[in-house]
Symmetry: C2
Subunit: 341 residues, 2 copies
C-alpha cells in the first residue's frame, strides 16, 4: 500500500528546521511512503536539496504562503486560507494524502480538521488522544487539550472513541474505560463527572468506573477519559516532572568525580532508562473522531526525533486502516447500544 503523509512544515515552535529533517528521516526508514511537505517553498526547498535521490523522489513540496501562529485566535485562523496547516488538511480531504501531521496550534488544528474532515456520526468534536506509556503497556488518554469546555455528552463520546481506538489498534474485544476523577468513591467529583458516569454506566461500553491521576501511568484501564483542560494540565505536569527528575539524576551523577565515574560505568543502564523514559518516543497524538482521514498532532516543542515519531504514528495508522476499522467497530460496538451512541 502506498502511504502519503501531508506534513505541515511551518507549525510548531521550530518550523522547517525540525519538520523537514524529521520527514527525511522518516522516508529513509519507510521505503514505501511518500511525504508532501507543505509550507513556504522558498524555505523548504533549500532544506531538501542535499537529500539522497532515493528520498527526493518520494517527497513533494506543496507551496502554502501563510502560517498559523501558535497563539492565533480562531477568527484569524479562518481567514488564513493558504496556511500550511489548512492546506495539509485539505490534501487529506481531497485524497492526495491519507494523513496529515502538524506540530502547530492545537485549537486551530482541531477546528480546521473538524470542518475539513468531518467527525463520525454521533461525534460532535474530535478529541486529542495520546497513547501514554504505562507500567504494563499503554493507555489511551483523551481529551488532552482539544476541548477545554466539555459537556457530559462530549466526555461520553470520548469514551466511545477511545474504546473504538483501543479496539481497532490493539484488538482488545471490550476495552475498559475509566473516567478521571479526584477519587474513586461514587460521591467524589463534580457535576460533570457524575453525569458523565451515568451515561457511561448506561452504555454498553466496558465502563470501569472512576480512576485517579495515578491510574493513568499504572495502566488501570485501557482508556482514560477527561476534559481537555484537565488532560492538558496532567500531560504537561507529567512532562515537567519527567524533566525535573532527569535534571536530578544528572546532578547526582555530576556531584563529584566518584559519582561521575559511577555514572560512566552505569552509562549503558542509564542510557536505556533515558531512552525508555524519553517523552519524544511517545510523541504524536491522534485527533480522534475524524472520519475523513488521519490527523496527528505533534508536541509543539518536538525535536526532529520526536516529530519523526509522530509521522511514523501517522503512517502506522494509515497502514492499519485506522479510520475504516473504527468505522467497522462502530457499527458492531455502538450499533447494539442504540440511542447512546
Amino acid at each position: 500500500m502506498n502511504i502519503t503523509i501531508a506534513i505541515d512544515c511551518m507549525g510548531g515552535d521550530h518550523g522547517p528546521v525540525v519538520t523537514v529533517p524529521a520527514a527525511l528521516a522518516f522516508l529513509s526508514t519507510h521505503p514505501d511512503a511518500e511525504v508532501i511537505l507543505v509550507g513556504r517553498e522558498e524555505e523548504l526547498a533549500p532544506l531538501v536539496e542535499e537529500a539522497q535521490a532515493g528520498l527526493k523522489s518520494r517527497l513533494h513540496i506543496h507551496n502554502a504562503t501563510q502560517v498559523v501562529g501558535m497563539d492565533d485566535p480562531p477568527t484569524s485562523v479562518r481567514s488564513k486560507k493558504d496556511s500550511s496547516m489548512r492546506v495539509a488538511l485539505h490534501l487529506v480531504k481531497h485524497g492526495q494524502a491519507q494523513a496529515a501531521v502538524s506540530a502547530g496550534n492545537t485549537g486551530a488544528l482541531v477546528m480546521i480538521s473538524r470542518f475539513a474532515l468531518k467527525t463520525f456520526p454521533g461525534i460532535d468534536r474530535p478529541a486529542i488522544c495520546f497513547a501514554l506509556p504505562t507500567i504494563r503497556g499503554h493507555t489511551y488518554a483523551l481529551d488532552l487539550g482539544g476541548n477545554v469546555d466539555c459537556t457530559p455528552e462530549h466526555l461520553f463520546q470520548f469514551g466511545v472513541m477511545g474504546a473504538l481506538l483501543a479496539s481497532a489498534l490493539d484488538h482488545t474485544e471490550r476495552p475498559s474505560v475509566g473516567l478521571l476523577n479526584v477519587g474513586t468513591e461514587e460521591i467524589k467529583g463534580n457535576e460533570l463527572t457524575r453525569r458523565t458516569a451515568e451515561l457511561l454506566r448506561e452504555s454498553n461500553l466496558n465502563y470501569y468506573g472512576y480512576v485517579e491521576g495515578d491510574d493513568i501511568f499504572k495502566g488501570t484501564t485501557d482508556v482514560v477519559v477527561c476534559d481537555g483542560f484537565v488532560g492538558n494540565v496532567a500531560l504537561k505536569t507529567s512532562e515537567g516532572l519527567g524533566k525535573m527528575l532527569g535534571t536530578f539524576l544528572r546532578e547526582e551523577v555530576k556531584r563529584g568525580p566518584l559519582s561521575m565515574l559511577m555514572g560512566l560505568i552505569a552509562m549503558p543502564v542509564l542510557k536505556r532508562f533515558k531512552h525508555r523514559a524519553n517523552p519524544g518516543r511517545y510523541n504524536g497524538a491522534v485527533l480522534l473522531g475524524l472520519s475523513g482521514g488521519v490527523v496527528l498532532k505533534s508536541h509543539g516543542s518536538a525535536d526532529a526525533y520526536a516529530f519523526e515519531q509522530a509521522i511514523g504514528r501517522a503512517a502506522d495508522a494509515v497502514a492499519n486502516n485506522l479510520i475504516r476499522r473504527i468505522q467497522d467497530r462502530m457499527e458492531t460496538m455502538i450499533g447494539a447500544s442504540g440511542e447512546n451512541a
Copy 2:
C-alpha cells in the same frame, strides 16, 4: 517554645500502625515537642508500650471512639462527633495543641477544619497547599483537592493565601503568582481562568500570568493557583509517573547480570537520586486559609517515614509562627489592595 501536635491516628489507609511509629520517630528528633495521639485507646496503647521513657513522657493518648472512613459522605461525618479527626481538630481549637495532622478523608478534613478553626476574613474556604519540589527549589501549588468546584473569587483567594504563605515562610517580598491554564496566551483557557485572571491582574499581587502544567516543576512562579479538581489530578498523575519511572529504572538495572553489576557500582548515586525523588519526603500539605491553627494533610497512603515528614512540617509551621505571620502579612499586603482582599 513548647510545641504540641494532635495526631489523628486512625486516618489514612493504614491507621495506627503507620501513624504511631511516625509520631515516635518525630518525638525522637524533636526533643522539645509533644504529641497527642488521638484515636481508639485500646489500639494505640499497645503500640507505644515499648517506647523509650524519654518519648513516653512527651506523648499523650486521647481516646476517640469513632473513625471517619476514607469514603464517608459529608453527612455521616457530621454525625461522628467523637471521630479521631474531629477530636484532633478540636484539641487545636481549644488550645491544647497548636497543630493537627491527619492522613484521613480530605473532604471531611477540609469541612471540619473550616467549622472548628475558621478561615481568615475574606477567605471562604481553606485550600490544600503543597510545597512541590522544583528544579530551583519549591513552588506552592493550591488547591490540590480540597475544593473541586471553584468560582473565580475562590481561585483569587487561593492566590492571596499562596502569596501570603510564600511570603511568610520564604521571606519573599512579593511572591509571583501564576494561574494554571492550558496555554500562556491570553485567549487560552475557559471562563473560570479568564475571570480569575482579571481579578488577579486588578489586585496588588505580583501576578505573573498564565502558567502551564510543566511550569509547576520548572518553578516558573512562587505560587501556582488552580481549582482542586485540576490540582488533584495533576498531583496524582505526577505521583503515578514517578512510580512508573522508578519501575523502569529498576527494570533496566535488573535486565541482566552486567546491568545489575553496573547498578550495584552506581548504587550510591542511584540511592541519592531515589531519596531526592521520593515523594514521601515532600509529604504534608497545609490547609491554607485557617486562622485558628495549623492543619497538615498527609497523603492517605503515606508510610511511617512520609507521615513523620508531615508531622515535622506541622511542627515547623508552629515554630515559624505561621498563622501569626500570615495574619501580619495580610494586613500589610492586602490592606493596601483595598476591596480585592
